[in-house]
Every structure is written in structure tokens, then in C-alpha cells.
């Protein structure tokens, strides 16, 4: 096992241990609830990240997929169904919606893919807004129940934090496994050269559709987790603003990196919810951070740090004399995983 691989795995373990120990480090209820929010956003961002990083498909519709799933759970709760049925309906809605997205967009790429996902997202937003007999219109659905064993929001914030943390770990692991699988490799092939993959005999649209379904299911999972946290859903959770913020999170963190979505979500959620208590012009600050990252850290925060470390290491390796060894370059390609 390569040393850098060990370091990144150890780093992951350290972050995980910190995440697990967080409620014991004297974190307040508010700190826990905001960390939960960050983790939910990170799950959603990692679903976008998977699609962008592996498939080269930037979606402006993932907020709406999560929204559709949230509405599914909300509607089920309003009909008096138990949380098990909520989960079933939420995932049912998610799969149907992702299929619609996937079928409409699987033959497009680049800007056309962006426009198709934007359009379907607006459609879902419009339905949430107008179909008031089911969605409650602009007022949304409130008092959505969640499983009893999670307990209530005020007293047992830590329980739900662990549920979401586990959800984050599982979804990140699943996405990682998928992107390391032969399927993930083919997907990257499609991203890099569609025509080559087609001439090699791959059914490109099928790969795109499958990638969208996987990503959509993770997004729907995030939607369900968010509805269990807030007990509330309204059209703005399905709006295009949310989807745009997801792209911002992914770019800030670094596309195609494992921890990028978490870092990006942390920055965006903290600026939006914590910094805004102290600074009136917080949207400006968010914009400035975004511009700075685009200008000086094109690979995103995680991606740029990995790059920087690689450069430092190759310099120290090179300093005794001679160019960096070929093994170093192979290290750098795997360390992308962090």
C-alpha cells in the first residue's frame, strides 16, 4: 500500500472519529443541528459531485430530485402513513423522477444536459407550487412525522446527528465503490471521449442513465433526511437556487474528490447560517469566496490542497537530485481519491 494512500485513509478515519466524538466534545444543540444540516447538504452535493466528477454531467436539477423525495415523504406523512411507508414512497418518487430526468437527458451532454436538468427541475418546482391539493402550494407541508426511535428535535438532536452521519458515511462509501468499479471506469471513459467509447461498443446513453439513477437515489436519500430534520417541505427546497448552491458546493470543494462535497457544503452552510448573523452582506462574502477559489484554486479546495501536497512531495523527492520517479506520478493519480 502506498504511503500517501495510507495517509489519506488515516485522515478519513480521523475525520470519522472526530465526527463520531463530536457530540461528546461539548457541542451545543445548535452546533449539532447545524452539523446535521451540513451533512445532509454534503450527501446531496456528493450525488452531484459523482455525476460531475465521474460522468462530466453538471446537473441543475438535483435540488428538485431531493425536493420530490421530500414531498413524497411529506405527502405520505400527511396521509397518516408510518415512516416505513414514507421511506418507500420517497424512494418510489425519487426513482420515477430520476428516470424521467435520465431518459430525457441521457442523449445530451454539456450545456444541453444542463438545460434539460434545469427544465425538469423547474417543472417539479412548478408542480410543487401549483398542485396545492397534494403539495400544499407555497405553504408547503408541515409537521411531517419521523420515526419514533429518533426521538424529538429539542432533546435528542444527537441521535439524529448520528443517523445522518451514518447516512453520509454509507452514501459516500457507496459512491466511492461505484466510481472505483468497472462501471465507474467506463463512465469516466464516456466523460473523456464519448465517441471513443461508442466505437468501442459501449451503449453510452445506458451508462448515462444508470449514473443518473445512482446519483438521483442518493439525492432522494438526502431529501428524505432533510425532511426528517426540518419536519417541513415547501417549493423553495425544490427551487433552482438550491440546485445552483449544490454546484457551488461541489466546485468549492473540488469536483471528483471524495471529501470535496463535505468541505464545500460546510463553507456554504456556515456562511449562509452562521456568518449571516454577524455580517449583513454575507451573500457578497460567499460570492467572493467562490471567485477566489475559481481564480486561484481551480481544482477546488480539496483538489488544490492535494495538488499542493503532491508538488511539495515531488520537490522533496527531487531535491537529492534527479527528476521525480515514475512511482510518484502514479501515487498522485490515486491520491485524487481523497
Amino acid at each position: 500500500m502506498k504511503r500517501s494512500r495510507i495517509v489519506s485513509l488515516a485522515l478519513l478515519a480521523l475525520i470519522l472519529v472526530f465526527g463520531i466524538a463530536f457530540p461528546y466534545l461539548g457541542a451545543s444543540n445548535f452546533a449539532l443541528s447545524i452539523t446535521t444540516t451540513i451533512l445532509v447538504a454534503a450527501i446531496l452535493a456528493s450525488s452531484v459531485n459523482f455525476l460531475v466528477g465521474e460522468g462530466g454531467m453538471a446537473s441543475l436539477g438535483h435540488g428538485a430530485i431531493a425536493g420530490a423525495s421530500a414531498y413524497g415523504a411529506g405527502w405520505a406523512s400527511k396521509q397518516g402513513m408510518d415512516p416505513g411507508m414514507q421511506v418507500l414512497i420517497a424512494f418510489g418518487v425519487t426513482i420515477v423522477v430520476s428516470l424521467v430526468y435520465g431518459l430525457l437527458s441521457m442523449r445530451t451532454s454539456g450545456i444541453y444536459f444542463l438545460m434539460v436538468t434545469l427544465a425538469v427541475g423547474m417543472l417539479i418546482y412548478g408542480l410543487a407550487f401549483r398542485l396545492s391539493s397534494i403539495t400544499g402550494g407555497e405553504n408547503g407541508i408541515s409537521n411531517i412525522a419521523r420515526p419514533q426511535w429518533i426521538g424529538n428535535l429539542a432533546a435528542d438532536g444527537w441521535k439524529y446527528y448520528y443517523v445522518v452521519l451514518a447516512g453520509f458515511v454509507i452514501s459516500t462509501a457507496v459512491l466511492w465503490v461505484v466510481s472505483r468499479s468497472p462501471f465507474g471506469a467506463s463512465l469516466r471513459g464516456v466523460r473523456d471521449s464519448e465517441s471513443r467509447m461508442r466505437s468501442l461498443g459501449y451503449t453510452v446513453p445506458a451508462y448515462r442513465l444508470a449514473a443518473f439513477l445512482i446519483s438521483g437515489i442518493v439525492a432522494g436519500f438526502a431529501g428524505l433526511l432533510s425532511v426528517w430534520q426540518t419536519h417541513f417541505v415547501s417549493p423553495s427546497s425544490a427551487g433552482v437556487d438550491r440546485s445552483v448552491l449544490l454546484i457551488v458546493m461541489v466546485i468549492l470543494g473540488g469536483t471528483g474528490t471524495l471529501l470535496g462535497p463535505l468541505i464545500g457544503a460546510t463553507i456554504v452552510i456556515l456562511v449562509e447560517n452562521v456568518l449571516s448573523s454577524y455580517v449583513d452582506r454575507w451573500p457578497t462574502i460567499l460570492g467572493l469566496i467562490f471567485i477566489l477559489v475559481i481564480l486561484f484554486a481551480r481544482a477546488g479546495i480539496v483538489g488544490s490542497i492535494a495538488k499542493l501536497l503532491r508538488r511539495l512531495r515531488s520537490r522533496t523527492a527531487a531535491s537529492p537530485g534527479g527528476p521525480p520517479s515514475p512511482s510518484d506520478t502514479s501515487v498522485s493519480s490515486t491520491s485524487n481519491a481523497a
Partner: protein, 430 residues
Amino acid sequence: MTSTKRSTRRSWVAIGGLGAAAALALTACAPPGAGPSTQGAGGTAGTGTLTIGFISPTTGNFAVAGQEMYDGWDLYWKTHGDEVNGVTIKTILEDDAGNPETSLTKAHKLVEQDGVNIIVGPLIANTALAVAQYTASVGIPNLQPVAASDDLTQRNANDLTVRTGSMGGSQANYPGGEWAATQGGYKTAVTLCADYAFGWESCAGFKQGFEKNGGQVVQQIWFPNSTTDFSTYASQIQAANADLVYVATAGGAPGPNFLNAYLGLGLPIDKLLLNCCAADQGTLRTMGDQIIGLKSVSYWAEGRDSDVTREFVEAYKKASGGKVPGAYIAGGYITASLLASVLQERGLLTGSDLIDAITSYTFDDSIFGRVSWDDYNNTVGPVFIRQVEKLDDGNLYNVPIATYEDVDQWLGRTPEEALAQPTYSQTFQG
């Protein structure tokens, strides 16, 4: 070399394993601070300070209205002092950008971190509903100065949420229909309302008031909230050829945009009846003298002949460089003055005691007139038919020409009948 590498790997695995084991052991028992929350309700009772968390969108699409709501609240404490009957009022303002998720997080922050006693706001219907549900679950009183959603005090009503500075959408417009069909003498009407919950509720209120008193709504037209060009709607209205045109917007640009299109076609101003927000001060300032005589229906009338209203208008004019206050500012102001009056009479109260004190109170001399609260914590008060006039200071005011006292939210039904109905929509107008 290989052996050292292998041993590093082994030690990493060992550390990782230890860490995971420790983490699992920790998870097995609840964290130290995880007991039932004791923060919040009544946290500072007795010390003489009432901490208020004020949530309002001061950035984003609703920044103007959100800032106005806070300005009204702030103006009251600035002009009357922030100490009432030995209770000091401390306000923490939080921006939610009009987004329900942010609203909720801010509410969490105010309750869990700042330990506020009351939450005031937010502004937009869905943010208000999201926050009201949360504050009720943690026992914190919630005062709503502006949010007009019917369901806030109907299907989603809770014991700790009070609408203090506005009325439900259908409630505030029902008397408009009644007035038009009776005193106004109009027989037929065409309606133009914003195509979402607030517009549906406003139109439903007007339509029911109008038709119950013998009028007939011949056509209902709906416009998307983002409409900027109203010329096609104005021609549709012209073609409908009704005696009266009722228009409901949620405030902001649609009011002036509609009036420009309507007056631009040469249609008469005396056939118009607008809702609260289409004829708010923003519209009056934008349109100027050409809309003198324009009629509207609202719970707020800045040109009403009363000492408290005059005092408020003068104070706001002084603070804002000569502007006359609109409904959102009035909503923030009346909420503050109501809280002050209750504290004056009853001393320091928190939690459900405070809500009981507010809802059993009759605010005889508020800037809205005589206001009380029903069993669902909604405002019962006067609704004015207003007409735009130019007063001595050269500003345009909405001056009442008719007043309906003690208007409640049930539109002539019993609460049970009203709650059994579906919610208002394009297809269900009551």
C-alpha cells in the same frame, strides 16, 4: 525499508481500530449534554429582560419588505424606549433571505444558542409556517407581524403562534366584496389575482363577500408572481366589461406595473378595487398624483383620523426622511406596541402565559383600531375601504371611506365548517 513500511501500516491499522472501538463505545451511551433541553422558555424570567429573536429576510428577493417589517418594530422601541414596566426588551435580528431552511436554522440558533424568550417573524408564508411549527415544539411563543397565510391560524394553528400585525388573506378581503356589492353599488366584477396561495386566498375572500351580497364575479384571471407586463391582462379585463375590477398582488412591483398597463389603456380608475398590498405606500409613491381616488381594501389605513396612527406616521416620517409607512412597517410597529401594552398591564411574562395574556387582551387603541384575538390566535379587527388622497403634507395617503369593525377569519361560517373546506386554489374559491 519494506519492513518499516509494513510496520507503519500495521500501526495505522491498530490506531484506526482503536479509534473505531473508542467511537463505538462512546456511541453506546448518550452524550453529556443530551438530556431534555432546559434552555429557552422562561430562561430569563424574573431578571427583567425579555430577549426577542427577530427573523426577517434582509437580503435576497424580499429584502425591502423584510427590512420594513423590522424597521417598524425597531421604531416603536426607539420612540418609546426599550424598557416597559421594569422589563427591558433586547432584540436579536437574524436574516433568513426568505428561505425556509435558513429560517429554521436561525430559529434553532436563536432558541438554542441565544436563549430567546420570543421569536418574532419571519415574513414569507412558508418560512412563517416552518418556524411556527418549530417554536411550538420547543415551547417558545411566536408572534407573526406580517405573514398572511390563512392556514397559519387555521389548519396549521398552534397554541403558541399568534398573528399580531396582519390578517389572513381571505379575511382581509371579504369586507371588500361586501362593500362593493352594497355601498359601492357594483353588480358584476372581474378579478385579477396573483397565482399562488396568497392570491387564491385574497380572491376567495373578495368573491365570497361580493357574491353573498348579490354581486356576481363574471371572470377570474390569474397572473404569475413574476409578471412585469400586464398589458394582456388589462385587455382581458377590458373585454370582460364588468362593473368592477378587483386586483390582489403580494406587494412590490406588480402593483405599479398593473396600474400603468390599466391606466395606459385609458380604463377608468373608479372601477378599480385593490387589495392591501397592491395599493401600499410603495405603489402610491411610484404612481404619484394620477392615482388619487384609487380605492382599496386593507386592515391598515395610514390616513385614518386617530392620534396613535398620526403619532406613528409622524415618527416614521422623521426616521425615514419623510416617507409614509406602509402595511409591513405597521405590522412590525403594532406587534411591538401590543407586546409593550401587555407587559405594561401584566408585567414580565414568558411562554404560554405571555400568549394567553396577548390573546385575551383587547387592544382598544392600536394603530389598526380595536383589535382582539380569536381562539385560533388570529386577529379580529377592523377592515377599511380606503381611497388615495393627498393630505396637507403633500404625501399620498390611503384614507378610510368605510370601516368594517371586528372582522374575523371565518367569512360567516363556523370554524368547524371553514376548516372542513379544502384550501383555496384557482379551482376552489369557496
